[in-house]
């Protein structure tokens, strides 16, 4: 069972069950999050909602807590207090197995340096979430190649990440994030390591592909030109979401 990129006609990967939304229509919500790393307060009563299919940019200066907020929303970090709900379920109360399952099936990630596994080829990297979800190797690799073609990097399929350029690597990371047709994609400075031309190209493809799959995107950036791809901007300062602007 595999999933095809949105351009393909048939989808063979089971679409995740509709997780539902909160009464306010939010797919994912942070409620009054507090988190400190030793003496340093990272989040101080941060609250935020993410709606299905929207592209939300989290902006703010370095050290403002935007990446920490993203990690809490994704269930990677547990806040000291407050709750994160996904489809009405409390993410902060989930076990590691449940949160891992969410990352595998309903969340996708694109980080600044791609976080690709250097030992695997690009196609194997993209196929990885599918294989972890139990899809057979052949099907998973087939779908991965389609995604790489969709993101215009079919030539790197059999190369290892170390043999690709930064832009190619980020497009592979985007393909990996979207291959399971997640409900939410978390992107932390996805173009931070790229030049402006490559950054623009990656963002165009990333957002277009995410919109095609219907995935919501939570995008951490400090660059206005990257935030311009979003539907909504939230500004994080001193660990708190201060402003939310409709783009």
């Amino acid at each position: 069972m595999t999933t095809s990129p949105p351009a393909a006609s048939a989808s063979t990967h089971p679409a995740p069950a509709d997780p539902g939304t909160t009464p306010g229509g939010a797919l994912l919500a942070a409620h009054d999050l507090h988190l400190a790393f030793g003496p340093t307060t990272a989040l101080a009563s941060a609250s935020l909602e993410v709606h299905p299919g929207e592209v939300l940019a989290l902006m703010g200066p370095s050290g403002s807590g935007k990446s920490t907020l993203l990690h809490c929303l994704a269930g990677i970090l547990r806040p000291d207090s407050g709750r994160v709900t996904y489809g009405g379920r409390d993410l902060t109360a989930m076990s590691d197995v449940e949160r891992s399952a969410l990352r595998r099936s309903e969340f996708g990630f694109v980080f600044q340096f791609g976080q690709l596994v250097p030992e695997l080829t690009c196609a194997e990297n993209v196929a990885l979430p599918l294989r972890l979800a139990g899809v057979g190797r052949r099907d998973a690799l087939g779908t991965a190649r389609e995604w790489l073609t969709r993101l215009e990097v079919p030539d790197v399929a059999d190369k290892r990440p170390g043999q690709t350029s930064g832009g190619q690597g980020q497009r592979v990371a985007v393909a990996r994030a979207l291959v399971t047709r997640p409900r939410v994609v978390f992107a932390d400075e996805p173009t931070g390591a790229l030049d402006s031309l490559n950054g623009e190209r990656v963002m165009q493809m990333f957002v277009a592909a995410a919109r095609d799959t219907g995935a919501a995107v939570v995008l951490v950036t400090h660059e206005a030109r990257v935030a311009a791809y979003s539907d909504r901007e939230a500004v994080v300062r001193d660990g708190r979401v201060r402003e939310q602007v409709r783009a």
Binding site: I76, D96, S100, A101, E119, L128, G134, R160
Partner: protein, 768 residues
Amino acid sequence: MSASTPPRSSWAADLALGARMSVGGGRSGWARLALIAIGVGVGVAMLLIVASLPSVVDARTERTDARSIGSGVVEEQGDNTLLTQIVRSGFRDLGVEGRLLQAEGVRVPLPPGVDRALAPGEIVLSPALQRLMDSPDGEAIRGRWGDTVVGTIGPEGLAGPGELTFYLGTDDLDEETATRINAFGNPDEQGGGLGPELLLLGLVGLAVMIVPLASFIATAVRFGGEARDRRLAALRLVGADVGTTRRIAAGETLVGAAAGIAVGGLLLLVAQHVLPPLVPPALTFYPEDLRPAPVLAALVVIGVPVASVLVTLSAMRRVVVEPLGVVRRSEVTRRRLWWRILLPVAGAALLHPLIGGMDDDSSGDQAMVTAGVVLLLVGVALLLPWAVDAVVGRLGRGGVAWELAVRRLQLESGAAVRAITAIVVSVAGLIAIQGTFGAIQAEAEGDGELQGSVFQAKVIDTRSGAVGQEWVDGLTGTPGVRDVVTSTFTLAHVETDPDQLIGVEVGPCSVLTHETGITDCAEGDVIVVATEGAELPTPGTTYVLGEPGSGGGTWELPGDARSATLGEFHLYLSGLPSTIYVTPTALGGADVAEGYESVLVALDPDVPDAVDRLRTTAADVEMLAYVADAEQGSLTGVLGTARQALLAGTIALLVVVGASLLVNVAEQLRERRRPFAVLLAFGTRRRTLGLSVLWQVAIPVAVGITLAIVTGTALSVVLQGGLSAPIGIDWWAIGLISGGAALVVLLVTAASLPLLAGLTRSQGLQSE
């Protein structure tokens, strides 16, 4: 969100993914896998060699049994009988043992490996003895048993290719001095077996070999651990839960272990052909003998991967692999002493049967002591990280290289400690076993009669009634022989009580001073010696010389006889509670019937191989005479074999731990490429980096060797006490083993410098 958990990959898929990742990663990934394979492979090869020891022993025993004579002994002469006698000799420190054969008919049995009956004077040699005789060094042994070499002994008649033996045809034997047989081979013959001392030492020796190997393999499978943890973090990000990451890590480890087993198998094949020529003659075996016992081989092949996976999973318990990276628990945890000391304390407690000496046949005690030794050695491995932490935490400032090394060790000494654990455990075990062995050996031969004497060799003629002058005439003129004196030993009994036996040795003063240790002696003197607690013969007692019933003359012990104390060695030789040493004049012409000749020989130390030239001449006088020399503790026998086995084991272990250390250091250097690149970028000299690598290896090694010396010496003293051997510390062995280990460290560091140079080349730095 759905209530059910989404589908997840199967165990097999996770393991397969791990396996795939272990062979990915291009050059770097292959280098890591190669290091693991070599590291595990060397350990596996050693384990397979240990697993082959039963086969080697069985194959050797089968061949030596086939040529033994136990079941073929007969009383009656026949067409198919022959007389045979063993000839014991030697060359330098090697034992040579042959057999005389005298056919009594035309259908005589042939020993294995010999294809025809030998006429008197004809000799067949083992290939090793043939090579020795043909070599320039062999001049002193050439012709010792005649020159009519008619062939070589086939493999089926030899313990191994290095054995020094021969069969010599003769017509000098008679049924009084030889054994009559009608067949070779004795399938039921049981070897003499190992005494309790050697059995215990053997068990301890095996433990000393296997514990470091286990540590060695456990270290090797953790190579590349930091890179693996980073990889697993990336997997966590895309949805792998903790269980999945462990299975993937297990899959990676299994590939390394499997590659290690393959390398180990190849190394065993190499060892089959490389080892036989290198082992001492007493341990010689054929390449095909070195085959692991199936059950033990299966244990290795199954046990190594299983243990490898357990080690990997255990190592992962120290880290929390999260999607954002790796958190090391060990960095914030100080190493505690209390639980590390438990194992060595338990080991020491298990050694309690050794206190006050062990019973000879207590297998339960031996098992307990062996378990105690294993626990003590494993305890050393557990104590080492704590000891290194405790020491490096107190080290002060120094040069840049010193500080780089110390700071690195203070931050994380785990990898450096793991690298040297095997060598430290080996050194502790070897010091214990060498020290114990040295004490046993000193007890057995330290009191040797030729030690420090003016005579350096003794010819023992087992024929009764031999003539001393024959020996003086025969040996005088041999190159390297300066003086030959003879004495005659006989039994005597009190004239009025034939059951009261005593030894009488008749010889000149030079012999008496040599034998009794007295410093002044004149012709006409009589010296009486007795074992501790035995009653001294009473002056005026009349003795009948010779075996009871042999018809020897009578002689009266004079009143001016002196007494002396003898070492145990002499009394062991005579086997009698007391012996009277008599100069010929004091005997007053009494007839010594059927005495045994002893010939003492003074040798010229400037003549090379003088004792071997003496042996060759002595064989000309009497083939069966045995020549013992001061330098030669034990040419043959279990003690000599065990000593050679220990030496071979020590060398093998040091070579293996050296290889282990080299692979470990290489791995540490590879993992630290990036910090090296940074250091070089702001101008650190390569020499400084090299020195820091040396300190990083040398500091833990110094701590470890100190720990090993303390533990090994304590264990040695306890073992000596248990075996009732004289208690002492063998500083020579300690120095030799510690020096060997230090040399290994230096060589390893030197060997790793080219790798450091390669890693810090400008192209390498650019990629970092």
